[in-house]
Symmetry: D2
Subunit: 335 residues, 4 copies
């Protein structure tokens, strides 16, 4: 079977991660072209990665002989680019969130469906082998009927306050990963959300109207209750844990660490720190994710994270925002 030919759009932090993954850790794919409005970035990436072509505009990318585009541009371009790519007959891998409004996302999904192409959304955590193990244990009934889900998700440091303001806020930017992970691991939909959130990490985040610390309760259709806790700053690194408790047992997913050493000294024993941030922690997940996209398209199978998944996580995030604003639980149908 011939290799999938792709173009990468946007070479910020996550764009570089995906490009590196495509070039060095993904089988069955060739990167044909890259584009970023900051053309020096695109040229440097093409040179160091041996990529044959550098696009001059997004529309030029769509004219290139590629099967799929990898969209890593800013969130406010996502649906416009998805729609254009779909109309050009390209399959699409798009970073999260698809957009900050449900209406835009619905338009994008409609365009994708009309064009008969596939759209996969970049919820990389589903592809972490640890999280997959939890999902497998829920799916196979190992833990029995699920009763409680707990996700801890804390970043090592907040983004700049100005970023918080334009990102749609913590729920749409950061917790959205946890909302998607919750749906994935439970295999059940969220019905109602209650979010308690505040700004304790950096007062400028609060002043910008955003939050940096939160506890969010989720009601699932299967009757289980979930809870997510978030912070924008864990001084000890990137804290990513998960547990599902059920009628027949519990599965816990612990953090990964730099190494397996423990030092025993006169003051106590010391273990390695957690991984610094998502590039280290989810390095393997990014490779599995991109491999899954490439294989799905090549094999003509449905991608594992669809536009519908992208829609629902945004809906939960919007409900969480509304819950904080109104200080009451919000049903998902309200947003």
């Amino acid at each position: 079977m011939r290799n999938l030919r792709v173009a990468v759009v946007g070479l910020g932090r996550i764009g570089k991660v995906h490009l590196e993954t495509l070039l060095r850790r993904t089988a069955g794919v060739e990167v044909i072209s890259v584009w970023d409005p900051r053309s020096a970035k695109a040229e440097e990436a093409a040179r160091s990665g041996g990529i044959p072509s550098v696009g001059k505009s997004f529309s030029e990318i769509l004219e290139a002989d590629v099967d799929a585009v990898i969209l890593c541009s800013p969130t406010d371009t996502h649906t416009e680019y998805v729609i254009a790519a779909a109309r050009a007959g390209k399959h699409i891998f798009c970073e999260k969130p698809l957009a900050l409004s449900l209406a835009e996302i619905r338009d994008a999904i409609a365009a994708v469906e009309a064009a008969g192409v596939q759209l996969m959304v970049g919820y990389n955590r589903r592809f972490d082998p640890n999280h997959s193990k939890a999902r497998q244990m829920v799916e196979t009934g190992k833990i029995g009927a699920p009763h409680l889900l707990k996700i801890t998700s804390r970043d090592p440091a907040p983004p700049p306050p100005e970023y918080c303001a334009v990102s749609g806020g913590m729920f749409l930017d950061m917790t959205i990963h946890d909302f998607d992970l919750a749906r994935y691991v439970m295999g059940s939909e969220v019905k109602e959300v209650f979010a308690r959130a505040t700004s304790l990490v950096d007062e400028r985040i609060g002043q910008s109207g955003d939050v940096d610390t939160a506890v969010i309760t989720l009601d699932f259709e299967n009757g289980a209750i979930g809870v997510i806790d978030n912070s924008r700053r864990a001084v000890y690194g990137y804290d990513q844990r998960l547990e599902v408790f059920g009628s027949a047992g519990m599965v816990q997913i612990d953090n990964t660490r730099h190494d397996t050493h423990e030092f025993f000294g006169a003051e106590g024993t010391q273990r390695a720190l957690l991984h610094d941030f998502f590039m280290d922690r989810y390095r393997e997940a990014f490779a599995v994710e991109m491999g899954a996209f490439v294989e799905s398209i090549r094999m003509g199978r449905e991608v594992p994270v669809t536009g519908h998944d992208g829609l629902l996580s945004v809906a939960i995030a919007l409900a969480a925002k509304k819950s904080v604003a109104d200080n009451r639980p919000v049903h998902i149908d309200e947003v």
Copy 2:
């Protein structure tokens, strides 16, 4: 200094635990008398424990030459007995909860204050050396400003459904320990409560109007957010964990287990189960607790868990019940 002379009232499960602790693990105390309306129980306990006297009624106990009474009788007798004991000039150790209504508790506290005796409430978890370590790390600023508190508290098996009905429900019977522990570890008061609760463990519990599975969000006066998750049945044992996350770090308290073995076999590696239930898990805590009561009274110092503490945990539990009933966050001043 002479030994404290005490009488034990009520010889159900927890009464036996306290009696054994007083007889074999507490210094500076003598058990002078025991009473239980099931007189055979009292006589058996006196015989096997070498206790000189068996009471015939609660009022006879109050006439005995004792400095303090240890109240382990059913909850609906607590405030009546506290008031009578206070009027008789006895110091009081009373099991939780003090009562199911705030008005009764206030009456009891008033009687205690009028009599100038001391009242300590049996929140044993404060005295667990692991929890004390967490409290110490919060108190000394090791974790910085507290942002998040998480308590997991799951019983190995539910009480009989008929017990659930009369106990005041899970929040007043079981979670009340977690409410007290939350206040203790954080060193800050709870302002508002949102509780999501359901019955997934045993449908008869739901039919009796009670719940067996819950996630409860707490707002603290210091600005932190807390979350407690509960289940009445964890098949793997008594699950008791706690974590406090702050601006300078996090402290986690893990479960204790039967032993430290790990078996490495062809199918995976296996570790010992958690302790079965509170008698094993908090065996050390019960000894520290009773020692603290005895020493406080002998030294004329204030007891470490006061009637006020007993009042506040009941208030939080009542707010949690109201939150479930109304499906909205409830301020502690509402109850």
Copy 3:
């Protein structure tokens, strides 16, 4: 069944541990008398423990109305006292080692057998619930045929150099516990010993002719190979670990710690230190041990650690000493 009546002989460090265990943690026993040549120690112990009688000499103890003596006197008195007690018809619990020479031990065993009394030797580690778990997994075949045994045993601090000189040396004083534990866990006898030992902790220990650091290889009759590593000073506490590896799996016994906390800070994560020393680490084991002695005598069953066990661990220790002196493996029949 009536209580066992015992006298405690010798109130040094281990004598106090056993007395406390008998008084507060052992059922079915009464301490009738205590004796120590330092009579103030005996009187203080009797007063604070409510013990009816204080002996004036060891022979007076033997005349007392006791069923058994608990010998915690210095090693060089052990066999003399064992023989005298046996002739007086008393059962005997004797601290390890029975003596520093095999001839003396054989004499003591002969006297015990002639008198028809029982002799139990104080190898407390057999009664640690963690070690018992390892023994059980070997015994039941859970790990298959045993291939390798590893014991790590490190003290927190060395005894005074002058003690090392008279104690018979590290192998007879400290490693002897590990030799007994090795036999117990494996359920097989040691055939040959190779010991590599040196003094790295304190040069005065080396100057006194003793060692403080060692690695000892053991050949077992069942074909397995064992290895013990020792140090007289682990700055991080009392390090007591064990692992048995077999054809069907491995069981590991980890250390116990002060508590279950882990602190996650910017520099790494920190866990509690190990227990300080044997009184904390083996507190439970001492209670199980003394309970086993009392019950065995009361029930007329054979004690779980016999004079023969006491003999064999000394034989292994003597072989280890000879191995270091000759720098060659030494067969157990050579000593």
Copy 4:
């Protein structure tokens, strides 16, 4: 700086690992040619890896325009190929062991030195980030003066008995990695060896004159004592642990596992298995190792594992064999 041009010689199991590492995980290198006497293997590797040339013989490889050769051919070809490559002016990466006799290794080192090229030996475990952490803690004095070293190294399954016969035996084939790791972590040379070894895993291994289970004691020049334990079959996977104990503390390196999950069920709690074997366990180490070779040659720096290192680990292995044969400790100068 231009890329290093290399040829890979030998495409058995380890040859494929190194080739994959060079192609996909190593910067600054180009694989110009491959050769294996089984020419189909070489052609397949060249095709799937996009390698421009396939050699017809080892001498043709030496005529190719390459800077270095990667020798993964059978052990009995190593010194012949090293000498030929050195004379052809090629730098050399050679798999362990360099040879089974010290005389051959000395000849190869002499040829390398005469030619002024570099020879690196494939002791991949030095490059494992966990082991590097232990080395760093020893080197920086974090653990103080080293007293004890413990290495556990157990394979998941033995090689075929016929392989054991020709490999030089377990010490030269498998333990040789541990001997090198011991020297690396301690930063001190081995003086004397005592090895106790037997065949418990597969009787055909014993019949072939080899062993499959061993405990080896090492004396280091710095006064410390080391111990290695080996088995050819651990049913629970590839067991690779290390600990260094010193005057100021201990560092432990634990195993890596498939994932971080723990399942809590009614029978106990279960964690993931260890990694299966060296390809998984040391995948990262192979990348660091090959990167170190490529960078050393490109930068003109000395390679981190020299021919001298290759010589010494073989010497220790030969001493261990002699120790088993003679049942006595053997000084390294005896071999």
